[in-house]
Symmetry: C2
Subunit: 220 residues, 2 copies
């Protein structure tokens, strides 16, 4: 048991596989909406935008949920992927920073549809605190710890300017959240037991610009 962070259930699911599971779940939901009840690795892979071999390999880490010669039951597989992702337990989210982005996130219906409840909004700006956004009253930043404790939020979202990100991050960690999703373009320092995912839209554009260059300027 010197192995770092390994669940007791089955063999570990590799990170690259975990990162693709939400896409499979999305594709399964789309198929279900279209009335499809049984699917194949070929069909599901196409819907998710990956190769069929990769899909089967990924699913094999979760267990054996298909039937040879037949395929996968859409509803059953979706349920199992949901279980593995931990979506059968309600996940509560607190959003810090209620600017345009925070507004967008607080109002986004896609969260509820995919297993998340936004339970609190927090901001430092006195002009924003107390206003109603997406059905919630914005709380002051210095109440963060209390708000997290009171709501049972386990995931924090940072939607503040980059300059404030590390302080907000520290406060979220101190308040006891286990995972952080940050939109601020800055590397965050966190203890090892806190999971961080970063979305940086300008970085995404820069990666697109790289390929754009290769395409437009072949020689120089």
């Amino acid at each position: 048991m010197t192995q770092v962070r390994r669940s007791a259930q089955q063999a570990a699911v590799p990170p690259s596989t975990v990162a693709r599971l939400p896409g499979y779940l999305r594709a399964l939901d789309e198929l279900a909406s279209a009335g499809v009840t049984t699917t194949s690795s070929d069909e599901l892979a196409r819907a998710a935008g990956v190769g069929p071999a990769q899909l089967r390999k990924d699913l094999s880490y979760l267990g054996s949920y298909g039937r040879r010669g037949v395929g996968y039951d859409v509803a059953h597989l979706a349920e199992q992927v949901g279980v593995v992702l931990g979506l059968r337990v309600e996940r509560r989210v607190v959003i810090v920073g209620i600017g345009y982005l925070g507004h967008a996130l607080a109002s986004y219906s896609g969260f509820a549809e995919r297993g998340f409840a936004v339970v609190a909004l927090v901001d430092v700006d006195e002009a924003v605190v107390g206003t109603l956004v997406g059905g919630l009253v914005v709380e002051p930043f210095d109440e963060l710890a209390r708000v997290v404790a009171a709501t049972g939020a386990t995931i924090g979202v940072i939607a503040t300017p980059a300059a404030a990100a590390q302080d907000v991050c520290d406060a979220l960690v101190a308040a006891g959240v286990g995972g952080i999703l940050t939109f601020a373009p800055r590397a965050l320092r966190t203890p090892a037991h806190v999971d961080v995912r970063a979305v940086d839209v300008a970085s995404e554009l820069q990666i697109l610009a790289f390929h754009d260059t290769r395409r437009q300027v072949p020689g120089a």
Copy 2:
């Protein structure tokens, strides 16, 4: 020359390295702002949140921009990384879908700071078309091709609901953009010459939920 998409310049930069370059650029800008003029792979790696060996390996694909025993000139290295990413040419961006998210993106100052000009906003909703957002007048969706041609946009951002994403994507491709950044939770089909990057915030939360589960429910 049967090799697919390979630039004529130097040896290809691996995708995983390209994806980290924006982070290095960010870290370099932070160091420069702090008055640092020379840095080491150790210092820069720490600022960017990666290991020093990985940083040096990544930079080695771009060329030799450091000096042994001394380190890297911050300004010079930032310039070179910018060149490789294609940021010395102005990149023009059109945003489709001006809801909360589109608003947030249109108003985001971080784009301009990092080499991008938002040159056009487009929406289908008649109530939104004609309004002023972030200093730009929102154009009707059926004008997309004309707007892209007139502004010279080469990158399209999709900030619409998932149901509209594929149609918007097709229209952007038809209009001639070379890269697409989508926030809609749906796999997009595009021709091979168009580069797509997808940001799905609910998927990010689901990945966090996976680790949350491992932590909170060790046994079952």
